[in-house]
């Protein structure tokens, strides 16, 4: 199949299409992990984004459903240098190509992904369109489409699209109760919490606070999710109302939402943090952890002090905020993904802390 990838700056690259024919629109983002393509593709935070992997050989170990972070692919498309058709791994269930076909997701390969990564680094993340199919395409037309689409900053439905929609309860083998506000959570958050013995009830992102408090949880986790946090008025309102009432934890988008609810600000990063090698320094202990990250927005450092949030952790690459703790209230959030999947397990202690805080309560 033919494949054209057009960017808003006028760049068009032609490659080989794979997966399902069709058109994908969104922001082209790059992820630098050398393993974990299954987890990344199924990470709901990639909703609205075309996922480009910087490691060139993708699909080597096939696809297995154990590694999914949600029930299917959430990225809009996959952009890679080379697709492996003959995977080798004892857990492999199907090829990556088959996975994309099954999920109706288009992919492009055999292109200079490093060139596009450098573009993103230099000019910032760009809006893009990927066409995969048999037709010859007018390049200018595609560029126009790329330009004219809505910016991710303004897309309001991204979370709604990936939120599971229903309240579900997952049993741990303890008596702690946690509600997770589902903005498009990753399975690993659930798995790690349950492993700690915590019973988790997931609720949709727009569930009002009183409904949550009625469940009488020991605490609430605000999950990760896609898009601009500032557009999620309802969730922010819910968090505002939960504050002081229960223990609050947040991961990634959850961290941004908690900060916003307290009155802090968020901003869009030039090209985001997406990878499994980001150094995070804990300011209290001085320890450095290697973390998984996937975020295009971040909390504005200067806006934190007035709202009672202290910076607990920073990213050593660019000093951006990676973790906040409230001075008085049991509120704790991190910008990275302590649950990994993909990525290192250095930050699993987050779930030990979660358990402790849930136990101690407010």
């Amino acid at each position: 199949m033919k494949a054209y990838l057009a960017l808003e700056d006028g760049t068009v690259v032609e490659g080989d299409g794979f997966g399902a024919p069709g058109k994908a629109k969104g922001e082209l983002v790059f992820e630098t992990g050398m393993t974990g393509y299954v987890e990344a593709l199924t990470d709901p935070s990639y909703n609205g984004q075309l996922l480009m992997l910087t490691y060139p050989l993708i699909g080597n170990y096939g696809v297995n459903s154990d590694d999914y972070q949600s029930e299917g692919i959430k990225a809009e498309a996959l952009v890679i240098r080379d697709l492996c058709h003959n995977p080798s791994n004892w857990r492999s269930e199907k090829t990556l190509n088959q996975f994309l076909v099954d999920e109706g997701i288009p992919g492009i390969e055999d292109i200079d992904t490093r060139k596009l990564t450098r573009k993103a680094r230099i000019h910032g993340t760009m809006k893009a369109v990927l066409y995969v199919g048999e037709e010859e395409k007018d390049e200018e037309e595609l560029v126009k489409e790329a330009r004219e689409q809505e910016s991710i900053k303004d897309k309001e439905n991204l979370v709604a699209e990936v939120c599971r929609g229903e309240t579900e309860r997952y049993e741990g083998d303890g008596d702690l109760e946690m509600v997770m506000i589902d903005c498009g959570y990753k399975e690993n958050i659930l798995k790690n919490s349950v492993k700690q013995g915590i019973n988790v009830t997931t609720v949709p992102y727009d569930t009002p606070a009183d409904q949550i408090l009625d469940m009488d949880p020991d605490g609430v986790m605000v999950s990760n999710g896609p898009g601009n946090p500032a557009l999620l008025d309802k969730t922010i309102e819910t968090i505002e109302n939960l504050m002081g009432e229960t223990v609050l934890y947040g991961i990634c988008l959850g961290n941004q939402l908690i900060s916003l609810a307290l009155g802090a600000e968020t901003f869009k990063l030039k090209f985001g943090h997406r990878g499994i090698n980001h150094p995070v320094k804990d300011l209290e202990t001085g320890r450095v952890f290697i973390s998984t990250q996937n975020h295009g927005f971040a909390v504005t450092e200067e806006s934190l002090e007035e709202v009672g949030l202290e910076i607990s952790q920073i990213n050593l690459n660019d000093d951006t905020v990676e973790g906040v703790v409230h001075k008085d209230m049991p509120i704790k959030a991190v910008q990275y993904h302590p649950e990994a999947g993909p990525g290192p397990h250095d930050t699993y202690f987050f779930f030990d802390d979660l358990k402790k805080d849930l136990k101690n309560g407010i």
């Binding site: 060139p56 170990y61 397990h345």
Partner: protein, 1073 residues
């Protein structure tokens, strides 16, 4: 944490001579460490017996001891220098072993020296199999079923418990030497006996076999704050059962899912903590069962290693440098990432290319060796290549190897497959197997079949299958001109070289190149940046690929390109890398921008710190021309990288590339026998009589005319390959029959062999006008032994002034005649005070670093500056340096890793490395050189002597000297009778062929013999001598094969008896000059 201020001086132990399993990667690590410690303001004291290293350069450490690497000598250095700390983790196994001994014997404590990096107990925990096993069970990491034993009988019992096959691993040895797989009790008995004797603590581990499992390696770093990061993951193509040093490997891991990889990462972190490596890098190997993912740890090296050098080059993360900084208290987040400058070192490199490492074996030089690959490492070097795909990187790696291949086959040099038992070729790991994998796929074997037969994971096989498929597409076209641009581009993207395309298309490389360029299919260069382009790379370290965007940036500065020497091999080792690095330093001093090109990941030259720009590329004309197209340097230097750059110099010149220094034509002339002969005559010099023969009859005639013995060699190979000394007609006949295919277009060269001549080697530098000798070195082995295998001494000890004068005159005359600008090396033979010219090489030689360390003159630097137009007068180098001290260079062999190789020395080079001894007189310097070379000359004990008839007279003197020194003399019948007649007290021992026991081999095995002097009568694997030598080699007993060597050894023993030997840094010797 800030760096430590409670220590001021740090001692670093290097790794000594290059041997299989311990090569120049430790020069890279050690040099980086010294530089890093100097940068942090510490006084550095370095000990290394290998003169061919950059780390032993005068300004690399504050005090540099080129002294034997032993606990005894290390103690002397400690007593003299009183260092505050000892950093043992950067000098390979050698360094760790010495540190352990010093610690065990209380020497460190006595002198208040702190071990930094890894404490003695951590080293012991990682190195001792029993304690390592216990440590693994403490942290619930699976480990092989195994048991350590010190007796062969126990080994057999353990094997019965575990079940055959079992793996035997000796504790504390290099590159797994002395180990192997045993499939039955007989094999086990043999391997265990050898392993126990080879182990420093006489211990071997009998271990469950995991042959066929997938093999992985992780490079881990830990800082003083307990932060741990993984630098690189490597996946081996050849599964468990073949030593990782003998496997093609690639980075990053390819067939592990993130879950599995993270589990391996977790284990690695747990392991480095449990073992207790305080700071620095460790290498951890894992085996994974391909059926079910069962993951076990195989071993851990608590130090930098060959893999850490590879990982550093593969990712751009300088492990040894960072390790040195961590050892003095810094934490990872306090150290900047050199490549990005703006982000810290506390991260995990991520790459957006694939790296392939391919081993380089020495079998071309060692025809008798067993080529089977086992758990005992046999390769002497390696190449690394980088590509965007595995296919591209693999083909680049193969053409970097300099084994006459231009890629993975289809290059005109394919092995014949007719009448070949392909299944068997696939099932046996050999150097050629990767080529057979491709051939089998071309013949129609399926990926699954090949994978099943080889044990190679199907992922790798299917990648090779892609190469086959692309080749089939290429073959659909009749000529290169008929290939559409897209097809050419595709071929390039799968790593096909222009030469391969030319071969497939029946064309010529230059035609392919020009057509390809006309079609705009040009290579692009991408940066190695540790971060997959997430941050800007400030350090220009590039590799080529065929993509859309090229990232190179050119400056306005004048640049000069240096071509490196490729993979280490016998005959072309670290010496040439030393010269290339010196060249880069010199050019920098002269204000040029330097561009280094090399494919060897073990080297200092491929450290991005060494030059302004680094291109990690194969050293072929195609690859070099691609870089030149981008960089347009002022000139290219080909003199320092050994034969490698010279092989392509003329091709480069044809493409209008300017070669600096001596012209390739002059270099060629010195290698062309007839023109060389004419030059010798013109200059009124002398060379051994000789002639050319195109048939056996002609050979007989020539040999008869000049008289036996003669030195015969084929004319179409250089550097001692296929060279032999022939003593009579019969031998000449068998040489021609067995070894060499003589024909009118492949003549053989026959020269008079000068028996009992002394060989002298000269290195000189010329600016085109003046010629100055760097020095004159006398070989202690007689002529006929390859110069690289012979010990040599500077300054000469037995050469008359008139002969020296004659050699000086000859050197000047030839430099002038050949228009040498730069270095030249000449081999002379002196017999009866007459000087003969044997060989001239107008380029850097193996002896340059040794001579530079001995004289304090940086010859390679001076030669570089001369090539850029400076005169020797301007550089202040106008006179040959005279010294009061003596330095001896001794060759070092790796025979114990290479079963089947005849250890007798001859015109074919067999040494893998060298060591140097330096002291005030010859005896002491020779003694040190012998210890450094691993030949522990005994002070007492039994000496076995067996010599050929013509040596009987001379050996009597040696024997009676030894007798006077208190040695007991043993000899075989012939030698013994003669010695007895001359009044030496001798015990006669039966030969193996005498069928009487115990014979001499039994004696050696029971370790009753401390020294062997054996000059060979004939050659051949069946002879008694062969068995004596190979037994001695595998039991590590010193043996000497020439009378000159024996005389020197006796002198050394005498000298050693006389008093204590002292140590002195080369900086002090330099001051005295």
């Amino acid at each position: 944490m800030p760096k430590r201020t409670d220590i001021e001086s740090i001692m670093v132990i290097g790794s000594g001579p290059i041997r299989i399993g311990q090569a120049c990667e430790f020069d890279y690590s050690g040099s980086q460490a010294c530089k890093a410690l100097n940068e942090e303001g510490y006084k550095t004291i370095l000990m290394n017996s290998n003169p061919a290293t950059i780390m032993t350069d005068f300004d690399m450490a504050d005090r540099t001891y080129i002294e034997p690497l032993s606990a005894e000598f290390a103690t002397k250095v400690i007593e003299q220098e009183r260092p505050d700390a000892l950093l043992p983790t950067l000098g390979a196994q050698e360094g760790l072993n010495i540190a352990s001994t010093l610690s065990e014997e209380g020497i460190l404590e006595q002198h208040g020296v702190e071990l930094i990096g890894a404490k003695a107990d951590a080293i012991a925990k990682a190195e001792n199999r029993t304690s390592f096993k216990q440590a693994m069970s403490n942290i619930n990491v699976l480990y092989l079923k195994s048991k350590a034993v010190t007796e062969v009988e126990d080994a057999l019992d353990v094997a019965d418990e575990i079940g055959y096959p079992v793996v035997v691993r000796p504790a504390y040895t290099l590159g797994g030497s002395g180990g192997g797989s045993a499939f039955n009790p007989e094999e086990l008995r043999e391997i265990a006996t050898r392993g126990i004797s080879r182990s420093r603590i006489n211990q071997v581990l009998i271990e469950e076999s995991v042959e066929g499992w997938k093999e992985y390696e992780l490079e881990v770093m830990r800082d003083p704050a307990d932060n741990v990061v993984i630098i690189c993951t490597v996946e081996n193509m050849t599964p468990m059962g073949t030593h990782t040093g003998d496997s093609i490997t690639c980075a990053p891991s390819q067939t592990l899912t993130d879950q599995e990889y993270q589990r391996m990462r977790d284990y690695s972190i747990d392991i480095i903590r449990e073992i207790g490596v305080d700071t620095g890098g460790s290498n951890i190997q894992f085996a994974v069962n391909p059926e079910n993912g069962r993951m076990i740890v195989v071993e851990m090296n608590p130090r930098v290693s060959r893999s850490s050098a590879l990982a550093s080059k593969a990712t751009g993360f300088p492990i040894a440098k960072i390790a040195a900084k961590l050892a003095v208290g810094l934490t990872l987040d306090e150290i900047p990432n050199d490549i990005t400058k703006e982000t810290p070192a506390s991260f995990e490199p991520t790459i957006d290319y694939t790296v392939v490492k391919a081993p380089r074996w020495p079998f071309d030089k060692l025809p008798g060796a067993n080529r089977g690959l086992t758990t005992q490492m046999k390769s002497v070097g390696e190449t690394m290549s980088i590509g965007r795909t595995f296919e591209e990187a693999l083909q680049k790696a193969v053409r970097s190897l300099e084994i006459g291949r231009d890629g993975l086959g289809s290059d005109g040099n394919d092995l014949p497959v007719e009448n070949v038992d392909m299944d068997r070729k696939l099932a046996t790991p050999t150097p050629e197997r990767v080529f057979y994998v491709k051939k089998a796929l071309m013949q129609g074997y399926s990926v699954e079949e090949v994978s099943a037969l080889t044990g190679i994971d199907s992922w790798f096989v299917s990648r090779i299958k892609s190469i086959v498929e692309v080749e089939e597409e290429i073959r659909e076209h009749d000529s290169i001109e008929e290939m559409p641009k897209e097809m050419i581009r595709k071929a390039k993207r799968y790593g096909f070289s222009d030469k391969q395309l030319a071969h497939i298309m029946n064309s010529e490389e230059s035609k392919v190149r020009h057509y390809r360029k006309d079609q705009d299919v040009e290579s692009t260069f991408k940066a190695v940046d540790t971060c997959a382009a997430e941050f800007e790379a400030k350090t220009p370290y590039y590799y080529s690929t065929y993509e859309e965007e090229d990232e190179t940036q050119q400056t306005d500065e004048d640049s000069i390109m240096i071509l490196g020497s490729g993979p280490n091999r016998i005959g072309q080792g670290i010496e040439f890398d030393y010269c290339c690095v010196q060249c880069a330093y010199a050019l920098e001093e002269e204000g040029y921008e330097t561009i280094m090109v090399n494919s060897n990941p073990e080297t200092v030259s491929t450290d991005y710190d060494t030059s302004d720009k680094l291109y990690f590329e194969p050293l072929t004309a195609e690859d070099i021309l691609n870089i030149i197209d981008k960089e347009d340097p002022e000139g290219v230097i080909v003199q320092f990288g050994g034969q490698t750059p010279l092989n392509i110099a003329e091709e480069l010149e044809e493409e209008d590339v300017k070669i600096l220094g001596t012209s390739p034509k002059s270099i060629d002339m010195s290698e062309d026998r007839e023109r060389f002969g004419a030059m010798i005559d013109n200059l009124d010099l002398r060379q051994p009589e000789g002639g050319t023969a195109r048939s056996y009859e002609e050979a007989l005639e020539v040999a008869g005319k000049i008289g036996y013995p003669v030195l015969v060699r084929p004319s179409y190979v250089l550097g001692g390959r296929g060279m032999e000394i022939v003593y009579g007609e019969e031998e000449l006949e068998s040489y021609i029959e067995e070894a060499i295919d003589v024909s009118p277009d492949k003549p053989i060269l026959i020269d008079k062999f000068l028996e009992e001549a002394v060989e002298v080697e000269v290195d000189a530098v010329s600016d085109g006008k003046d010629v100055v000798l760097g020095g004159m070195m006398e070989h202690t082995e007689e002529a006929g032994v390859h110069s690289g295998d012979s010990a040599c001494v500077f300054p000469p000890q037995s050469i008359s002034d008139s002969a020296k004068e004659e050699m000086r005159r000859a050197t000047e005359a030839m430099a002038d005649e050949l228009n040498v600008v730069g270095l030249m090396n000449i081999q002379f033979a002196v017999k009866n005070d007459k000087v003969y010219v044997l060989e001239v090489n107008p380029r850097a030689s193996r002896t340059i670093p040794y001579l530079s360390k001995s004289t304090g003159v940086q010859l390679a630097k001076i030669a570089t500056k001369v090539m850029t137009g400076k005169t020797l007068e301007e550089l202040g180098f106008t006179e040959e340096v005279e010294v009061d001290h003596v330095s001896v260079k001794e060759a070092v062999f790796s025979f114990s890793n290479l079963p089947g190789v005849d250890t007798v020395l001859g015109p074919e080079m067999k040494a893998t490395g060298e060591a140097m001894g330096i002291d005030s007189d010859f005896g002491k310097a020779y003694y040190k050189s012998q210890i450094s070379a691993g030949m522990q000359l005994p002070e007492r004990g039994n000496v076995f002597i067996s010599v050929r008839n013509k040596d009987l007279r001379t050996v009597t003197l040696i024997a009676s000297n030894l007798e006077n020194l208190g040695f007991n003399i043993y000899a075989t019948e012939g030698t013994g009778r003669k010695l007895k007649n001359m009044g030496v007290d001798v015990e006669i021992v039966p030969k193996v062929s005498d069928m009487e026991r115990p014979n001499i081999v039994d004696l050696i095995k029971s370790e009753d013999i401390a020294l062997i002097i054996n000059t060979p009568v004939g050659k051949g694997a069946k002879s008694d001598e062969f068995e004596i030598r190979s037994t001695a080699a595998s039991f590590g007993i010193p043996y000497i094969t020439t009378l000159a060597g024996a005389t020197a050894a006796v002198n050394a023993i005498k000298r050693m008896r006389k008093g204590t030997i002292r140590v002195k840094p080369i900086q002090e010797y330099e001051e005295e000059i």
